[in-house]
């Protein structure tokens, strides 16, 4: 593949609009593209695009995601930037995986597995969970998310959504009873205080507990008033999902709280052959390697704890453009990331 082929690979993938649960066109495109490049490629039972190149006792798992958030952006190149939904999050990193593997070709003693997983943006992470359940632990794993071509992502914060519901009998607003909405606001303030207290002496974002109020609404049928509230929590590695949920359950008193989208935070080790390969590869391509940890969550939160081995997240792109109408990837950065990853694959 020359660079124009690599750009065409990504642009073609961007043209296949694939919000979560509507990935089949993009999966068919990627399976065909990988097959044409010599991969054994197929769509698996979960709907993921899976391509295998080469064979051997070691496995290098390159796990990206093929779904995007909604909102089609017509793919076009302007001033060396490829615009399109998913250019950064995360079809750019996924195309980088395919292009780098095609560039190295089959490796002695190792098979390269490229996965375009479905439903990463849906919080179900159906594709990654299927891969975790059906594939043996690989020797090395790279998650496809934008880190920037010269940076290596080591960790993602955890997450839990808190669904709060409180109902009470109606009373006159001139009376002394507190309204249901006020009770919900009290709970929100308690959660904020809980986080502020936890965050004392923890200046780093990755180490902090971050609450955000997502939704609040009240309703009434004339006899009972009801308030429903959704709070998002971004968790540090030091807090377990279970401990936070137990604390919030206690705080909620008579209100009902349920939880969803639960993922523990995860931070990878950096003293292993995979990280060393990246440090050397970024330098070989002319960069100064850097590490990063992220406030969001990714399939790494599922795969990292499950498999345990050397793992990082990597891919070209500026993650501040994730989910924005201006989402685009600098083609020069795309090329550099392919060079870095090809170098990594050769040196593992």
């Amino acid at each position: 593949m020359d660079f124009s082929d690599q750009v065409q690979l990504l642009q073609g993938l961007l043209e296949q609009y694939s919000p979560s649960r509507e990935e089949s066109g993009a999966v068919a495109y990627l399976v065909a593209a990988m097959a044409a490049l010599g991969f054994e490629a197929q769509r698996d039972e979960a709907g993921n695009a899976v391509g295998v190149l080469g064979s051997g006792p070691d496995t290098i798992m390159l796990l990206g995601h093929i779904d995007t958030v909604p909102g089609f952006i017509p793919p076009q190149i302007i001033d060396g930037k490829l615009y399109g939904r998913g250019a950064v999050d995360a079809k750019g990193p996924l195309a980088t995986f395919v292009a780098a593997a095609a560039e190295t070709g089959p490796l002695p003693g190792a098979r390269i597995v490229v996965v375009g997983a479905v439903e990463e943006e849906a919080a179900t992470s159906k594709g990654a969970r299927h891969i975790a359940a059906t594939w043996p632990r690989p020797t090395w794993c790279i998650i496809g998310e934008p880190s920037g071509w010269d940076r290596i992502t080591l960790g993602y914060k955890g997450r839990v959504l808190v669904h709060y519901t409180f109902s009470r009998s109606m009373s006159h607003t001139a009376g002394q009873e507190r309204a249901a909405a006020e009770t919900a606001v009290d709970f929100w303030n308690q959660v904020r205080h809980y986080a502020t207290h936890y965050n004392q002496d923890r200046p780093g974002m990755f180490d902090q507990l971050d609450p955000s109020l997502r939704q609040i609404q009240t309703s009434s049928d004339g006899f009972e008033e009801k308030v429903e509230m959704v709070i998002g929590l971004r968790l540090p590695t030091e807090l377990t999902v279970a401990s936070v949920e137990a604390d919030l359950d206690h705080m909620a008193g008579p209100a009902r709280v349920t939880f969803s989208s639960e993922e523990p935070a995860f931070k990878a080790e950096k003293n292993n052959s995979l990280v060393r390969a990246f440090l050397g590869a970024v330098r070989a391509v002319g960069g100064t390697p850097r590490f990063t940890v992220k406030s969001g969550t990714a399939d790494m939160n599922i795969i990292g704890p499950h498999w345990g081995g050397p793992i990082v997240a990597y891919g070209p792109g500026d993650s501040t453009l994730d989910h924005t109408p201006q989402e685009h990837l600098e083609l020069a950065e795309y090329r550099k990331a392919i060079e870095v990853l090809a170098q990594v694959l050769r040196s593992l």
Partner: protein
């Protein structure tokens, strides 16, 4: 078994590189705790390891 001594570029402490140390390995300074990357084994050389940045996003 220690095979070489290097100086921590952050605090000046003398550190022993174990036999079997490899290029690219990340070690911690026993005095100041900073992460160091072994840039070279022969001759032995360490530099401050890449720092961990924090990003808002995925």
């Amino acid at each position: 078994m220690a095979t070489a001594t290097v100086e921590c570029p952050e605090c000046g402490a003398e550190l022993q590189l174990d036999e079997g140390s490899i290029k690219g390995e990340i070690i911690s300074c026993s005095d100041c705790g900073v992460d160091l990357e072994i840039i070279s084994v022969k001759p032995p050389k360490v530099e401050l390891a890449p720092e961990e940045e924090e990003d808002w996003g995925e």
